[in-house]
């Protein structure tokens, strides 16, 4: 399958979301990702590795980009509580050491 280009609206998608969507499909294609600030767009040049169906690949990439964008929203919104839960979970376990301190000695 020949190389082709996809464009994503940078107002709707973060660069990270597009990068992750492409990474997940690395087995099917290689990608060159460029952020075009003046056009507020993210351009992805797709070079398929095999002669797979272009429509399916485009559809999967767009679905994955949407999912990744939603994951970004969840991650950002829950970052504080996630850190709180993890800190609480591992407090008093001996697993959290101050930086630079040696591990606990064994018996």
């Amino acid at each position: 399958m020949a190389q082709f280009t996809l464009e994503f609206d940078a107002k709707s998608y973060s660069l990270l979301a597009i990068q992750k969507a492409c990474h997940r499909h690395s087995g099917q294609a290689s990608f060159e990702i460029t952020q075009i600030t003046e056009l507020s767009s993210i351009q992805v040049i797709v070079s398929p590795r095999t002669a797979s169906n272009k429509e399916t690949l485009v559809q999967n990439l767009r679905t994955e980009a949407l999912d990744q964008q939603m994951r970004e929203v969840v991650r950002a919104e829950t970052a504080g509580v996630r850190n709180l839960i993890l800190a609480h979970a591992f407090s008093r376990t001996g697993l959290i050491q101050q930086d630079g301190q040696p591990p606990k000695k064994s018996v």
Partner: protein, 491 residues
Amino acid sequence: MSKFQPVAFYSKQPESASAQYQLLPFRFTQLDGSRYVATNIAGEYTILDHPTLQAFVDHKLPATDPAYVTLRARHFLSDIHSQMGPDFLAIKVRTRHERLAQWTGLHIFVLTLRCEHSCPYCQVSRQSEDKGAFDMSQRHAERGITLALSSPNPNIKIEFQGGESFLNFDMMKFIVETAIAWNAKLPQPKNLSFVAATNLAIITEEMLEFCSAYGMDISTSLDGPKDLHNKNRPRPGKDSYERTIAGIDLVRKRLGRDKVNALMTTTLASLPQVTDIVDEYLAQGFKGIFLRPLSPYGFAIKTKFFRAYNAEQWLKFYDDGLDYIIELNRRGVDFREHYASTILTKMLTSQDPGYVDLMSPAGIGLGAVIYNYDGTVYASDEARMLAEMGDTTFKLGTVEDSFETLFTNDTFLTALEDSFAYSSPQCNDCAFEPWCGADPVFHWGQQQDFAGRKWESEFCHRNMHIFRGLVSRMENDPFVKNLFAQWANRC
């Protein structure tokens, strides 16, 4: 002031209050064309269609939606009725990871590389029966015991492996008796237990008496019906099956019914025989089976056994076997598949069964450590198999090193850090991450990369398929949901 909330607090939220909730950390992955699996930070899951997922993330899910109640009950959101959600999640996360603080509990002693079997898929290079050079020395055994008893873990399991471990029975006896004696002198003695991996072909009354005296467990190999087993596991006399079955019978009589477990390995010849293999385990009185693919190490690679079938063929074998086992249970036969049970325990409870391949941080070193016959120490059984192939990347050191030196080995710590699934590319977005694990030895062996490129990782492909299969079966069939809950809670 009353400690109780007013009655109005317990009334349902009005629809207008639909946006009054806070998202708690969760991940989602497509289950099929229309549904997503969402898991919270403690690994509890729910199934959502895309419109519901989108509405939930957009804070537009009405409190009256049936999914809302599930999402609240499973700590995907907190609202005025569930402000303890983050605290509960923290307790569940702590419970799930409690093994980390305990450090290594399984200490494997490779007593000898000698074996009278010549299995073409064997994962360690075997030597002929008369080569004493491949036996563990007393000095190495003593140092291994010292290291095992140095682990902070209060429960230490010592496992004997080979070759055929009973070909060095004298050293097995020495290690058991010495470990018990030295343990008794510790200020805080540990709970010691012992297990011997053996093909049972050379087991004697004396050996059984010793195992009985120390409550030792036996782990053996049974690949399936007689023809398949003997084809897979050749030995002089071509009687591996007969000896294994006789050995299982003897162990049960002398040690007790539950003291022997068996493992099978899938070869190309096994693929069309999964129901026969399960039936063989049933006929031999086992309560379950662990359907295992070949590991890409040792003779399995040299003899091309590993590539004799592909991942898709093995997954079909696994699916057929699992469905057959479910049908047996539907007919009233109590039998389970152990790999599914291990995963289901992670899916449906807050416990982590501690299966080395499904741990993150990786189970190497943390879950198990290997003292090889020659005194080298490896981070896992697979690590020593890789070393037998000439790659000593996961060698921690030797038994002469201190416990601290071995477990602060740079390569070991780098492998743990690089492969940690919580922060590994793709894994950190994957809803299945709380159920999965990091397998840096597998990925290093296959891709020379500790984390592994997931899109070409057989480990990832195989486990994703199994996770989806288990969830789908539960969602589609109430009987299976009930059955799997039983499997999860008996692990």
